[in-house]
Structure formats: structure tokens, C-alpha cells
Symmetry: C2
Subunit: 235 residues, 2 copies
């Protein structure tokens, strides 16, 4: 079965957590909106009046299923491609970690869009500065400290032990993204989380991920995505 | 098995989506932090270094499992108490809807905390006004319009058909909460979503929910929770 991934064609965004899982799994998939007429195919799926219409991209067509919400797609891929434990307890635990990643991603987005997702950044520069300050003072230490603790208490290789899960792939992306968006702040913070930096490197070195990152399937970071580099926010 | 729910004792907050599911299911549970020494028991669980420590409340102890993240707890309760379809497709669909509710809940919270969750409302009144305006102009029509469309295309009784799911219980709470937080805005908006108002009433009339809402287990809304009534935001 060839999966169809539907996501905005010009950004990593939330679609990237799904792309990383598909790539790690060596799954057969097409990134629909990046192909000819792909965007109109995506919009058509979103306007569907029946079935299981998604609220927003990303969504994944898997045979007859259409699955929306990033963490939900990963829940599905995790159980079909060995990217999560098989037991109910293990599945719920990895999903719990992923939902915490999702909360963090939303807070990352809000650093540059504190007044709401439908307004331009340029109209909310001052509140963005305040929110970014708060984010680095309070939220980054809390979230990344939490994940670092989980990693340590499970042996330090991957979040849940010796096998990689989709949550590890997502944490790789978090480290990578924060380095892009706010390199100075991240460089100053990384000594607090050596285990997560190792995890990042371990994921980046996995053969399928390594091949993906150096391919043109990996869209470069840019200022339309979740992780945006605005100099005035990186002090 | 008696479930143990761990959540802040003085607010509905995110714990309420779990309480509604436990109540609808007629499940045996104790709301731990509301009992004597419950808060210290909760803090102790959160500081756990091993097992599956939650990032934040709510979390549910179900026998030997400790499950964190609201939507993840509902995923578990849904499959153990008939509050979601049994098929993989049905389970994923209800979970997808719940994750969309979770995104909406976070945006609701951000209306009064646009500069971040660790600062007081009083320090962010002006940005809160802007974000609330944006929220009602753009986000409420988008989210509630989406759920109203799903409801209609599935027959109009419950989101996924004739059987109630945990996502229906959560939508009840959304309508109830918006009515509390911004009664004027909500009164003006409700004619746009008659189906969701009916769904709210249908859930409220279910025997277990009705009994719960009139019990002292239901904590009243207040200005510490997700839904807060600030007059200046309700114009």
C-alpha cells in the first residue's frame, strides 16, 4: 500500500513529524501536495462532506482510511510499522509523550504568533518578544527538562528504551528546529540537556533518516513554518 | 477496579473532559486531589523518576497503568467503556475529533493568556483583548463550523452517529464553557450552530451526566480554569 500524505508543500510544519516516521519506516508514500495538481487534490479532500474530513493538514490516506491530526497519524503508523511498543501500556505511553510534544509545538508556534494564528507576525512583534522571553525562561526548561528526565530514567538511548519510537523522531525535530529558530538561545541552553542532544544525533545518524535529511524530500526550514528565525527573538 | 483521577482540585480545566467520560461510563473512580492529602499524593506521582510520569495533570491511574494527557486518557476510557467505536477506523476517527477539541481548548486558554501560561492575566489584558477578538472572528467559526458539519453529515444525533462518544461529551463542555466565559458573544453566535446546541442539550439530558451536573462532584466554573469570565472580553 502506498500512503498518501497531505500537507502544505512549502514547509516542514506539523507534516514533518509524519514525514520522519514514514521515512524511518521505509514506507512507500507520496507527498501529494508537492506534486502536480497536488494542492487542489488536498483542498478537495478537506472540503469533503462525508467520511472523516480533517480539520487541517496534515492528514494521511492509508488505503480506505483518512487519518487527521499529527499525533493520531503517528499512533497509526507506530502500530503498523514498529515505531511504538505493541502492548497497550507501551502504546499509550509513547502516545502520551507525543501529545506532550504536540503541546510544546503549539507553544513554539505561539512564540511568534501570540495574538493568534490568523494574523501576520509583523503585526505582533512586541507581544512575540514578551512571549518568547517567557517561553525560554519557563517553558523550554520545563518541557525539555521533562523529556531529558524520561530519557535518563529509561537508560539514555531512546525515550522508551533501546528501540526508537516516533516520539524520538519528533524530539530530534524539536532540537533541530530550535537550533534553526533561535540558535543563540539554544546554544546557551544545550548544556542543560546533553542527553537530548545525544538523542538528536542518534536519530540523525539512523540510515533512513540520514538519507532523508540529505534528500530534496526534506524541505529547508523557513519563515512560514513552526520554527522561524527572527533575529529580534534570538538574543 | 477503582480508577484514580489526578487533577487540580479547584477547577474543571482539562480534567473535566475525563470526569465527564468517567461519569457517563458510570465508572468507579476517586478524584484524588479533592480528598484529604490528595494534593500531596498528586505531587508525589508527578515527581516520579521511573514508570510513565506525566508532564502535567490530568492523569489517570488504571490498575498498574498511569496514563497522562487528556486525549490519551479518553482514548483508553473510550475503548474500555464503549465510548468509542471498536474498529480501528472508528477509534482513530473519534480520537482525531478529540485532538481537534484539544487544539481548540488550548486556543480558548490563550484568549486570556496570549503572552504565556506562566504570567497572570492582569499583566496581559490588552493582548488578551486582541487575541479574543481574533478568536471570535476567525477561530470559533472555523472550529465550531467544522464540528457542526461533521455532526450534520453523520445524521445530527451524535458526532459519529447514533451512539455517544467521548468527543460528544467534550463538545458539550465546550458549549457550556463558552456560555460561561463569554455569554454575550456566545448568545450571538449560537444561531450559527443549532446542531451543536442540540447536541449539548442531548448530552446534558443523559441520565449519568444529568446526575453528575447537579452533584457537588461538578466544580463550578471559575476564573482559575480554562473558561474564564472577564467582562472586558465579552462585548
Amino acid at each position: 500500500m502506498r500512503y498518501e500524505l497531505y500537507y502544505w508543500p512549502d514547509i516542514q510544519g506539523r507534516g514533518e513529524y509524519v514525514r520522519l516516521a514514514l521515512e524511518e519506516a521505509g514506507a512507500d508514500y507520496v507527498d501529494v501536495a508537492r506534486s502536480d495538481r497536488g494542492m487542489s487534490a488536498m483542498m478537495k479532500m478537506m472540503e469533503a462532506r462525508s467520511g472523516t474530513p480533517p480539520f487541517a493538514p496534515p492528514f494521511l490516506k492509508a488505503g480506505r482510511l483518512v487519518i487527521g491530526q499529527t499525533a493520531n497519524i503517528l499512533l497509526y503508523l507506530g502500530s503498523h510499522h514498529g515505531l511504538a511498543p505493541k502492548s497497550e501500556a507501551g502504546r499509550l505511553w509513547v502516545h502520551q509523550l507525543q501529545l506532550t510534544v504536540a503541546d510544546f509545538v503549539l507553544e513554539i508556534h505561539d512564540t511568534h504568533h501570540p495574538l493568534g494564528p490568523s494574523l501576520y507576525y509583523e503585526g505582533q512583534r512586541q507581544p512575540a518578544k514578551k512571549r518568547t522571553e517567557e517561553f525560554w525562561n519557563e517553558r523550554v526548561p520545563k518541557y525539555l527538562g521533562y523529556f531529558a528526565g524520561v530519557l535518563t530514567s529509561n537508560g539514555g538511548t531512546y525515550l522508551t528504551g533501546r528501540r526508537v519510537s516516533y516520539a524520538d523522531l519528533s524530539l530530534f525535530q524539536i532540537v533541530e528546529g530550535l537550533r534553526y529558530a533561535t540558535p543563540k538561545r539554544m546554544e546557551a541552553f544545550e548544556p542543560e540537556i546533553p542527553g537530548l542532544v545525544d538523542l538528536h544525533d542518534r536519530v540523525a545518524a539512523r540510515p533512513n533518516i540520514k538519507a532523508y535529511l540529505s534528500s530534496d524530500r526534506r524541505i529547508p526550514f523557513n519563515e512560514e513554518g513552526i520554527f522561524r528565525h527572527y533575529k529580534e527573538l534570538d538574543i
